[in-house]
């Protein structure tokens, strides 16, 4: 059995620092196993949020060697053996203690998005081809790693103007739903700040569910916003025909 050094960020809202811990390493261990071992052997007061340990609850998000990751899905043998492993809380969100951050801002954003609104007489029989596209977005486990890595939130602190990738995915799942009747494009353009995304695809890179966030959600939303607000021919056509330009065409 070998040992590895972990540098775990310890602290709270007032500040903190990385603390070194030695961990006995066994084959197949993930970072969350190491954190639990540290809690058992060295620091029972180390705060860490986790639940399923199966990459499905989205609770154990953190930054391992500087990259946003689920601790339960990051195997130690996938990390360079020659150096210590750093574990720190998600940088974008306010720290509560140690590895636990306050992600409640996400829930306030979620409330701003009008929910699924079918027509009163909607028939809930759907073809598979219509289900497949929005089904991808339903895989989201709300780990908020995409929100953490998004530079609009992380570097520019534009939480007040931008929903972030997670909620653009949610908006896409509603906008592309064949039975939904609402048009959320104005919301996405203005309060949602879809134009703030400069599609650098970091959200896609870190998504543990491998959702194609940028290509399948954000870019299609940007194109729908272009249809309604920027395409000069469409604008002229709408003026000439008097069409309202509802994204749902209803």
């Amino acid at each position: 059995m070998s040992q590895r050094t972990f540098k775990v960020w310890r602290g709270d809202a007032n500040g903190g620092a990385f603390v070194d811990y030695q961990v006995d390493v066994q084959e197949g261990m993930v970072v969350l196993d190491a954190i639990h071992q540290i809690q058992r052997q060295h620091a029972p007061d180390l705060a860490c949020r986790w639940n399923c340990k199966a990459a499905k609850c989205g609770s154990c998000s953190a930054e391992v060697n500087g990259k946003p990751r689920l601790m339960c899905k990051t195997r130690l043998d996938a990390l360079p053996a020659s150096e210590a492993i750093s574990v720190s809380p998600m940088k974008t969100f306010p720290i509560i203690r140690d590895l636990v951050t306050d992600v409640s801002w996400n829930y306030t954003v979620n409330k701003q998005i009008p929910p699924f609104t079918p027509a009163p007489d909607a028939t809930f029989l759907m073809q598979q081809c219509d289900v497949d596209r929005v089904q991808e977005f339903r895989k989201c486990i709300e780990c908020f790693l995409c929100q953490d890595v998004c530079h609009v939130l992380r570097e520019h602190n534009l939480q007040s103007q931008f929903f972030g990738p997670r909620f653009l995915v949610r908006a896409a799942s509603l906008e592309m739903h064949p039975l939904d009747t609402l048009d959320r494009l104005k919301l996405l353009k203005d309060q949602g700040g879809v134009g703030l995304c400069n599609i650098t695809k970091c959200c896609t890179e870190v998504c543990p569910e491998e959702i194609h966030i940028t290509d399948n959600a954000i870019i299609p939303l940007k194109e729908r916003v272009v249809d309604k607000y920027y395409d000069p021919l469409r604008i002229v056509l709408r003026v000439l025909t008097g069409a309202g330009g509802n994204s749902k065409g209803k």
Binding site: W105, V149, I199, E223, R224
Partner: protein, 265 residues
């Protein structure tokens, strides 16, 4: 919500806890795009050696196609390549994939994921001019598709060689293959375009609601397949178009001999 300030708040260019060589990829992209920019500008400025007609061949550089100056009898004080190149340049500059690459490699916004950026006074993303121009990407696609049709014509024409009697004969030269590979790469890039993906079917909410919608769903699926590898097509086509110009230029200058692989008389 807790109000916090911690040591993790440190920001600035290159500030990160990442241990990997995150800077290599943006550096390679910077070098690759810069090299292509320098070469293509130089090649466009030249205004010569863009057509190789040796041994009956007809190889036209993609930087100089179509030859619009011949259509209108123009006598320009500058290379006519500039009448064409703004179209593929605009198409690539507004392409969603290239936007990612140059925002990362040139604007460092961000250089890599979870890496600090230069200090910005105000970040507007793509909401302010000139970045709002990105919204007309679809129009550059339409124009680039017209140019692509001419490049397909040129590629097919490159398989026909003028014999001693003046008749065209089917044949295959190295240049023919180079031009064919180039136009295939350009097509793979163009027809995986995100805007095209939206226009052909992505904008629909219901793929099964009509016969037209079902047909568009099938086309959307095909474009999506190409779109999955849009980045690879972008790089392959970027280099293929530059190398095609270089090959034709070197043949026209007499530096290279275009080998004839097949000629049916």
């Amino acid at each position: 919500m807790a109000e916090t300030v911690s040591i993790l708040e440190h920001k600035g260019l290159g500030v990160t806890q990442r241990r990997d060589n995150w800077w290599i990829k943006p550096l390679l992209v910077f070098i690759g795009l810069s090299a292509f920019g320098v070469y293509s500008t130089w090649a466009a400025w030249q205004g010569n050696n863009f057509l190789f007609t040796g041994h009956g061949a007809y190889y036209l550089s993609p930087f100089y196609s179509p030859q619009v100056q011949l259509w209108f009898g123009l006598h320009l004080p500058f290379s006519f390549a500039f009448l064409i190149l703004w179209i593929p340049l605009g198409f690539r500059a507004t392409c969603y994939y290239y936007r990612k690459t140059y925002y990362r490699a040139f604007f460092l916004d961000p250089a890599a994921c979870a890496v600090g950026e230069p200090k910005h006074r105000h970040y507007h993303g793509e909401r302010k001019f000139p970045f709002t121009v990105q919204n007309i990407h679809r129009y550059f696609f339409y124009l680039a598709t017209i140019v692509l049709l001419f490049l397909w014509y040129d590629a097919v024409r490159a398989f026909f060689f003028r014999g001693a009697t003046g008749h065209l004969q089917f044949g295959v030269g190295v240049g023919s293959v180079v031009m064919l590979v180039n136009v295939i790469a350009l097509s793979g890039f163009s027809f995986g375009c995100n805007s095209l993906r939206h226009l052909v079917g992505g904008k629909l909410d219901c793929f099964s609601c009509s016969r037209t919608a079902r047909a568009r769903y099938k086309i959307w699926g095909k474009v999506s397949i190409l779109n999955l590898r849009h980045a690879e097509w972008a790089w392959v086509s970027l280099f293929s178009v530059g190398l095609t110009d270089l090959y034709i230029r070197l043949c026209a200058m007499g530096v290279l001999h275009d080998a004839r692989l097949l000629l049916i008389k």
